[in-house]
């Protein structure tokens, strides 16, 4: 029994790291631009599908990986200019609906290009699973966890150690004052979307070897990432990571111990519970300033 619990914890943490990555991208973009980008799951799906197609042309895995991230980052920037920038004075609700529209369009585009087939990517490192305490740990899980840790450290380094990061923070803290010292918030917003495109694509590619990659996998990913972000308080970067891991572990245990049909329903139940009981999230303080 304890083997099984450990096994479920491992798969829960793997799943959770994926949700954390999506939630991280969601929260960072939201903090910077005030736009909740619900098309983020599609960025991940298209990133994964692109990498798979590029790899299928005979490209080395690492090249396919990088090229796909660059392409999705460009796509993020183009979409920001085309759909978000013209509506930058609109209300938050309008902007959310725009991103929902983007998400549906991107899913449609993916369906046209890749069809309804299921694709997969080989694992990044060869070799079988490690056995720890009787439970198997897939090497790809370590890659995914590593990406989450790396992303978090890079984000921290950018915001705390670089001048550009400080300028982005300034634009978040006080938009008017930031404009008065010469920071252009619309440029900041553009780069935030480029960054979230790159991050979303990276997340999608990392999970491609362990999940079934289809044109519509972004939908559930996006929802899970959103739930993870809400658990963490929506504007709290640390909370987003914790929320993702928590959601992953809970899902894994409920699927393993109760019923696997419960897995997706659980996320929505948690979302409702958090919104009703603790809308500021587990780490959030009500009315706190962003970042």
């Amino acid at each position: 029994m304890s083997d099984q619990l450990l096994q479920l914890l491992f798969s829960g943490l793997t799943l959770g790291s994926i949700y954390s990555l999506i939630a991280l991208a969601l929260v960072t973009t939201f903090n910077i631009t005030g736009v909740l980008n619900l098309a983020l799951g599609e960025f991940a799906a298209i990133g994964a599908l692109l990498a798979i197609s590029l790899y299928a042309t005979g490209m080395p895995l690492i090249a396919a990986f990088i090229l796909s991230i660059v392409l999705v980052a460009i796509m993020g920037g183009v979409l920001e200019r085309a759909a978000i920038y013209p509506a930058r004075r609109a209300s938050g609700l309008t902007l959310i609906i725009i991103t929902i529209g983007l998400s549906i369009s991107l899913r449609g585009l993916a369906l046209l290009i890749w069809g309804t087939d299921t694709y997969s990517l080989p694992a990044f490192s060869k070799g079988g699973p490690f056995f720890i305490g009787g439970a198997a740990l897939n090497p790809q899980s370590i890659w995914i966890l590593g990406l989450a840790v790396l992303t978090l450290s890079l984000l921290y380094a950018f915001f705390e150690l670089t001048y550009a990061g400080r300028a982005v923070k300034a634009a978040v803290i006080n938009r008017t004052a930031a404009r008065l010292v010469g920071i252009n918030p619309s440029t900041v917003s553009f780069w935030a979307f480029v960054g979230s495109g790159a991050l979303g694509a990276a997340a999608g590619i990392f999970i491609a070897p362990v999940t079934m990659t289809t044109y519509d996998m972004g939908f559930m990913l996006g929802i899970k990432g959103f739930v993870a972000a809400v658990i963490g308080g929506l504007s709290n970067v640390g909370g987003a990571v914790l929320g993702g891991l928590l959601l992953g572990v809970l899902e894994s245990y409920s699927a393993g111990l109760i019923s696997s049909g419960l897995k997706d329903a659980l996320a929505i139940i948690i979302l409702l519970a958090v919104l009703l009981l603790r809308p500021q999230g587990i780490l959030g303080v009500l009315g706190e300033r962003k970042i």
Partner: protein, 273 residues
């Protein structure tokens, strides 16, 4: 160095500035006085690019060292009529705030608007954002220079700006604006909510700054303090200028005394009979 011609600015349907024309001279300290809602802050906000004027022009003098058609060289001897004068004034109406800073106009906004959850040092460094790439190496020297102007900020570089007292926050806000190396510094009510001693300190710093060649426009409700340091002052009422003149003239103007300096009109008939 700055010319405003027939400026109209609206907030929604409310007209805040009405047909205002004004000439600001290089190196002067101009005080703008008036009651709440007279349009003073809107005027400064428009100059900083925060509000778009409905009508009128804002012009700045071009940098003296680079007249645009210097290249033409051979001036015709034929007489004055053929001489093409270089465009001395540059129209900067409808420029966005992030570009106004690059034109040398820096606003210290009402309520200071510092980056409260960043450190004092970060606030000052970000003030130089528009020239950071060019002057990376000397930014810290500029920070030190600003610290010399505001010694009270020394030793607090690492503190969160939001934890500073009101007076220090105001100094930080002015310091941040100075980091942009402005030619024209706009100050929106720097004395509001501050202790009289701090107000005096800030005003004396402004007159020091003026000596370094910065042109200053100072919006104030504290009429007495503003007139003490200003070279010239004007009074705004309902969006236009009603009185203007040198500080000394305004100080002795009976209308200004009555309305803004709190002195009752002298009425010799009273109490004598």
């Amino acid at each position: 160095m700055l010319r405003i011609e027939g400026l109209d600015v609206y907030h929604g349907y409310v007209q805040a500035v009405r047909g205002l024309s004004l000439h600001v001279k290089e190196g002067e300290l101009l005080a703008i006085l008036g009651a709440n809602g007279a349009g003073k802050s809107t005027l400064l906000g428009t100059l900083a690019g925060l509000h778009k004027p409905a009508k009128g022009n804002i012009l700045v003098k071009r940098k003296g060292d680079t007249p645009p058609n210097k290249e033409k060289g051979n001036t015709p001897v034929g007489g004055m009529s053929q001489v093409e004068c270089p465009q001395l004034w540059k129209d900067i109406t409808n420029t966005s705030p992030e570009k106004m800073v690059r034109q040398g106009i820096s606003l210290v906004p009402e309520r200071r608007e510092i980056f409260s959850s960043l450190s004092v040092l970060d606030n000052l460094m970000l003030g130089a954002y528009h020239r950071y790439r060019r002057d990376k190496a000397t930014i810290l020297c500029d920070v030190r220079e600003v610290m010399e102007i505001f010694p009270a900020l020394k030793g607090r570089e690492k503190e969160m700006a939001g934890t500073l007292s009101g007076g220090l926050q105001q100094m930080l806000a002015i310091g941040r604006a100075l980091m942009a190396h402005p030619k024209l510094l706009l100050l929106d009510e720097p004395s509001v909510g501050l202790a009289p001693l701090v107000v005096r300190e800030i005003m004396s710093i402004l007159s020091q700054l003026k000596k370094t060649g910065v042109t200053i426009m100072l919006v104030e409700q504290n009429t007495r303090a503003a007139l003490k340091v200003a070279d010239r002052a004007l009074v705004m009422e309902r969006g236009s200028i009603t009185i203007s003149g040198s500080s000394a003239e305004l100080m002795s103007d009976s209308k200004v005394q009555q309305a803004y300096l709190g002195r009752a009109r002298v009425q010799p008939a009273w109490g004598q009979a």
